[in-house]
Subunit: 297 residues, 2 copies
């Protein structure tokens, strides 16, 4: 048994990845304003759920989570760049993110676009430069292939494009799931598979973890949609009800609030069933699953 | 001896890289509009000078240039994404590129931003997926490190950020060279070093080729500035004199037209001297150097 509390694990590894993020940008020779813009969004806080998944998966294999710090930082960079670009006036046009002015509100649109571009580019540098003792050349290439697939046109960017096209249209549940699976699900799944890759998982273990990832990815999004209806602006850091105001297709809009909550329960339950089948030390992953289901921001 | 004409070499390998670019985007499962936007700019033509440098360097080592097709395509994707983002209204706000409407004029700003993001992401996928017979895992990782360094915050993106900050300011020659070395020079240099990496160059050969790259990079930019004064709109595909209208610091503005032409000659001569020292079959590289010095678009 391996009774680590999620709180102490989170504190330790959140600090580790945040240090790595600041160091990676701090060591760049680059115009000061660009570095500031990159750090502004990286240091805006957030749950660091993707890095935590990397670390917790490695831990579930009984390996040292520290081996995942570069991959965790790379994923958080990609996530952060996607928020900066999504918030731009020509995209979602958001003024607030996590209770603070969005990147382009502080640094201007041009610098925000470039800060996003630079974070995406830097993420691949981090993966390619992982020290040999943490990942072999073979593992590093697998991590790079995986990130470029999860983050690109048939992953996160494709999901965002479909989301933009779908705005103000009434979507079917299938179209809505396509958007979420790509826009947020693939990078969450990648976080889990990156941890598995670093820990030396078998193909069978990766497949089980992939299913786990699918279910927590959708649970995460459904919870997001419910929060937009039920949360408080103070807790979620942006105006409540913006989906309804923007006539956005959401789970509650398609399934009703009760139906959305049922779907959330289904995916949380299925995620836990996958964990049970894995034969790994899944205590932390189970707690993260609960966190996703219950989070209020 | 190895008397290939640059024309027949160019025709052959331009076709090869253009086919690879179309295939790579064509095989993505992604929203149709996003794929169209990516292809629109990839297929807008252009000299493909960076891919040609990759192929010509491999050829100079007596190796098969075809081994460079994925690296060449990856570099052209990065170059293309940078043009799409640089043309955006919040950046250079250009309506025309190579005589055609810019990406955001056709597809809108949001899709243009996403198409750029997707091309950058895809470029790393191409490098990570190079077949083993063309590049070992070690070479692939070196290519990925090099691209992420050349294209990111202490390379191309940093140069663009410095360029935006320097707009409408009077720059020193040193500041102007910082911008050009980063904004255009580093990706040109990377094209040459990627070819060298694939061909199995020694550290010493890479150093000589780096110097060659430095000089043709600056020659390229000085020629660009001169063309903005002396070229015709029909030939360069965008309005002539836009630098002067935008009060942009350029080589002719800092050195006078005659001084700029002298600097161009100096860098072309120095580039050729590096080639002479390399001991390689540099016929094609010499012809490309002439082309950069004489090009009228």
């Amino acid at each position: 048994m391996h009774p680590v509390s999620l709180d102490s694990f989170t504190n330790k590894y959140k600090a580790l990845v945040e240090k790595r993020l600041s160091e990676a940008v701090g060591s760049l020779e680059t115009p000061e304003n660009l570095a500031k813009a990159m750090l502004y969004s990286l240091e805006a806080g957030g749950k660091r759920i993707r890095p935590l998944l990397v670390f917790a998966v490695i831990d579930a294999f009984g390996k040292n989570p520290q081996n995942g710090v570069d991959a965790a930082a790379a994923i958080e960079m990609v996530h952060t760049y996607s928020l900066i670009h999504d918030d731009l006036p020509s995209m979602d046009d958001d003024d607030l993110r996590r209770g603070k002015p969005t990147n382009h509100k502080v640094f201007g649109e041009a610098t925000a676009i470039l800060a996003g571009d630079a974070l995406l580019t830097l993420s691949f540098n981090l993966l390619a430069e992982i020290p040999e003792e943490s990942a072999s050349a073979h593992v590093k290439l697998a991590l790079i292939k995986g990130l470029s697939a999860a983050a690109g046109a048939h992953g996160m960017v494709g999901g965002q494009a479909a989301d933009m096209e779908g705005e103000k249209k009434k979507l079917t549940l299938e179209q809505l799931e396509y958007i979420h699976i790509n826009k947020t699900g693939k990078l969450l799944e990648y976080s889990i598979l990156a941890g598995a890759e670093i820990a030396g998982a078998t193909a069978e273990q990766k497949e089980i973890l992939s299913k786990f990832a699918y279910h927590i990815g959708l649970a995460f999004q459904i919870r997001d949609d419910i929060l937009d209806l039920e949360g408080s602006e103070e807790e979620i850091g942006k105006p409540v009800g913006s989906d309804t105001a923007n006539e956005k297709s959401t789970y509650p809009a398609l399934l009703g609030l009760a139906g959305a909550k049922e779907a959330l329960d289904y995916h949380l339950r299925s995620a836990k069933e996958s964990l049970d089948k894995s034969g790994l030390e899944v205590g932390l992953l189970g707690q993260i699953t609960d966190l996703i289901g219950l989070r209020n921001h």
